[in-house]
Symmetry: C2
């Protein structure tokens, strides 16, 4: 299928040479008005379009930006995409999105597909299973600039845009303490993930700054809805020793509130809960969740601006930068006033 | 930036002809082993890669499927994408996603970008602001097969995959009636949208089948969270006349429950609420929402299979089909047992 009419096809059908067709289409003075009319009318009739791939090849710019993200369904990533699109569209670029599904092998294929399609630049956030970065180096070695957001490899020098996870965790924990909590449980992400490490450090720092002794029993590795149900016994056992919970993300916070409430514990009267993310679920759950806004749209905009700077930079000197966006507290009804 | 090393570049640097370089890289017998070694070693050193665009041009197949969807953030569409990816990946195709953001002009640009990149086929769901279909005809006229899911134009002959909205609405309303509801409010989508029309018809049909008189006052055009807040007065005014609500989607149902509960109305004791969609929010809201599962993954799989049939179909005879997926009831705590 998918046959596109070529200059050769037109030449064959009209019984003239391909170069005559080509020159007629370009309105070349050597070609008679009669031939031009015939060729142009016929080209229109058969839907002839100068081959876009061939055009791209010549001008060597596709005006397309590629995105590789772990999961579209994740609200944070879809808000990053909105931010990317805003800046990219305004600058006249298209956006093509590939999903790695947290799978290293798929990420490699995506990177190759974007290279094959000659995108002008790539914005990416690493999958959780990516430990090797040759596919990224390969993009850079082919002159395709790459900017990272949220999850970036330490090993690669590139522009990087992060949310300030340490600061976000610190202000969340400060809010719990300011509203009277003294025994605060932290439901944490694995510490091999940078965000897990930084949010835990922010939690510990806030305790320290308020003269509260850090209790290692008050950190549980638990960062998904399923984890919460698996750890329900453990969390409920701690329930009468704690008055606040800071979770590494919103869905963990929401599932925790559901488990606690099912067992007669009132939020926030008995235990305050604060999350991290501020997706639409934070407004939908019961009670509405206090949380830290992750500013995905702003991250997407910043990352795209950095990428466009590189794409449109004609000089050879280029020094990678790292930008950090400060998150903001959103207080709702799952914490005390 | 983004300069890719070409055969010409290599020829110039090594001081030999481009055709010698080309033949050396192809291991042509006319070229001496010494020249081959030099060219091949140099090509490797400078990261030479046969131009992918040029290769695509020759084989005229990119093994890429393009998707145009209204909104990635919408759970239904992201589950369709999962379904598409499963089937496409298994068949050796990549997937590139473009988002129209419910904007006709962006949809036109997306279609052109996918045409320019010569995708092998396109899967799409129309934006709410698309009333003209020339950009779609343009894809089809260029031999790129298009399969629609969820939102499709009547005017275009193509494969189409739908959820059976009529049946879904009917089983949802039947469930309310079976659990004792007799006065059922329907919060509806605009009737110019096919899904709005079909879900309203299913609701009316279920009333009819149960001998319940249809009351036109019991339909309000209200299909977003914001709509619910704007119509809160109207809904609360009806509250003591009704015992059940069927909403056209989950987010409308969830916002409605929030409005009712804020005003002391208990769900489901006073009023039962059932939605349509079954995204993750249905488990997160309070009370957990009874709803109709929209089977996005299955729709994505079916649509992709239809598209692959067309892409890989070598015969010229092709007859478009429409597939309808039957939705399933998910009963939770917002309706009575």
């Amino acid at each position: 299928m998918a046959h596109q009419v070529t200059i050769k096809d037109i030449a064959k059908i009209l019984g003239i040479s391909a170069s005559t067709v080509s020159r007629a289409l370009k309105d070349h003075p050597d070609i008679s008005p009669k031939t031009k009319r015939m060729v142009q009318a016929f080209a229109q009739k058969v839907n002839y379009r100068p081959n876009a791939l061939a055009l791209n090849l010549r001008r060597s710019k596709t005006n397309t930006i590629g995105i590789i993200i772990p999961e579209i369904v994740h609200h944070f990533f879809s808000s990053v995409i909105s931010g990317i699109e805003k800046v990219a569209y305004a600058a006249g670029y298209n956006v093509m999105i590939c999903q790695s599904n947290e799978d290293y092998n798929r990420e490699v294929i995506d990177a190759q597909a974007l290279l094959d399609n000659r995108v002008d630049g790539v914005l990416m956030s690493l999958s959780k299973t990516t430990f090797d970065h040759d596919h990224i180096r390969n993009l850079i070695d082919h002159g395709i600039p790459v900017v990272f957001f949220d999850r970036a490899p330490n090993e690669i020098e590139a522009d990087k845009v992060f949310i300030d996870d340490f600061m976000g965790a610190k202000i969340a924990t400060h809010h719990l303490i300011a509203t009277g909590c003294r025994n605060i449980l932290h439901l944490a992400a694995p510490s091999h993930l940078l965000i897990g490490q930084r949010r835990r450090d922010g939690y510990i720092k806030a305790l320290e700054e308020n003269g509260i002794q850090f209790n290692p029993d008050f950190i549980i590795k638990c960062d998904t809805r399923d984890d919460v149900f698996a750890n329900a016994g453990k969390i409920l056992q701690l329930a009468n020793q704690i008055d606040g919970i800071f979770t590494v993300n919103d869905s963990t916070a929401i599932a925790t509130m559901q488990v606690l409430m099912k067992n007669g514990i009132r939020i926030p009267e008995h235990i305050s809960v604060i999350g991290f993310g501020d997706g639409p679920n934070a407004n939908i759950c019961y009670p509405p969740l206090s949380t830290v806004e992750q500013k995905g749209t702003e991250i997407g905009k910043e990352a795209t601006q950095l990428l466009l700077n590189q794409i449109e930079n004609t000089e050879d000197i280029y020094k990678p930068t790292t930008k950090t966006i400060t998150p903001v507290l959103r207080i709702r009804e799952s914490t005390l006033m």
